[in-house]
Amino acid sequence: MRFFFSLLLLAFILLSLQTTIFSHIPLLPVKPDLTLIMVVYIAIFHDDTAGIFLAFFLGCLMDTFSGSITGMYALLRIGTFFLTKLAQQKLYLKSTLFYICLTTVLSFIDGLLVLFTVFVFSSVDTLWPFIFKFLFIQSILTGIVTPLIFFICNQTRLLVENH
């Protein structure tokens, strides 16, 4: 329970940083998706029941901080959780490189789903320029930041367990 709330608090802090500091980095056209990385971590290292609730609440947090369609990220995070669980059963998920690759692929899928929603519900004519210009960069950026977020989550877990 304590770890549940500590991860929520960590997600809150990371999202606050994402909405302020990351937005002011001029060279970055996109931002890494930190809650997605946290959901991947939870799916790999935690049990199903608590994990899925956490993924749902992280998605709700993302919906609150973002101006997206409410509930969209909550649904996407649950999907990310299950995809990670599936990958964990089928693939060797024990090294950092695999975590980076998995997060990159999941970020790409997540972005595709969001863009598909955008395409269906708005008047955007074509998505190909955005996929090639922004989605690839965002996925790679999210993958690069994965080890750092995993480390922070690990440290949080150790801190909570020691207390």
């Binding site: 999202l15 606050s16 994402q18 909405t19 302020t20 990351f22 937005s23 002011h24 001029p26 056209p29 996109v30 931002k31 998706d33 930190l34 993302m62 901080f65 973002s66 101006g67 997206s68 990220y73 972005g111 969001v114 863009l115 955008v118 519900f121 708005s122 008047s123 955007v124 004519d125 998505l127 320029p129 955005f130 210009k133 922004f134 965002q138």
Partner: protein
Amino acid sequence: MFYILRKYRRIILTSSLVLCAAFIISSNAKENNNLFLFEEVIYAISSPLQKTISFTTTNIDTVLSYYIFLINLKKENTALKKKNNLLKEKIFQLREMAIANTRLRTLLRFREEVKLPMIPAEVVAYDPSSWFKTILINKGSNNNIAKNMPIVTSDGILGRVMEVSKSTARLLLITDHRSAVDAIVQRTRAKGILVGNVDKTCNLKYVFRSDDVNLGDYIISSGLGGIFPKGLPLGKVSRIKKDNYGMFQEVKVTPMVSFNKLEELFIVVCSN
């Protein structure tokens, strides 16, 4: 003879030397500028040694002077560097104040020109997602902010209020794909709908192929729809694509507002 010399050698020696000295004195008393041979020999032997010692002494003295001078110089340098840093900081602050002054004067002039009731606000946070373009401001329903109120800056229209809480409000920017603003081309009055793109530009849609639109044309709000006041700048035409078929032409618009440099903005208070 030798016995006498030996017996009185001291007196003889002393007397000789006194006489010699007297001779030398008397010779010098005549202001003779020529050196004696003895003097010349002594000079010849001693001068190189003297020069060496003098050179060494001078150099040691110089090095010591430099060392002491450098210590003082170093102290002076440190003090000057500290003062320089303080002055640089002060210059930076003054420059920032000057820029803020210019910006606020522009905003004040804009507010006086537009003649609409407005509430100033500041940006608190940006959207964490890369696909949605919204921002959070520090005013809410406690400040009489309501949904769908337009947001403007001195450069032009920024967007409209999307969600309101007690102390904050979320704004939908014109570059968001869900935004649609009724607009016209300022020069020719051609009509269209300005919609946002996933990148930081907009498209002016439903512009007839026969309408006259050129690169660099200004796009302004038409006032239709009841949300945005008429005549406020939206953007500038940056690209036109006109096919040989179809009803409409594709017009890409770069917004007037720089979304990376948002600081102060105004919410136009209007009754919905």
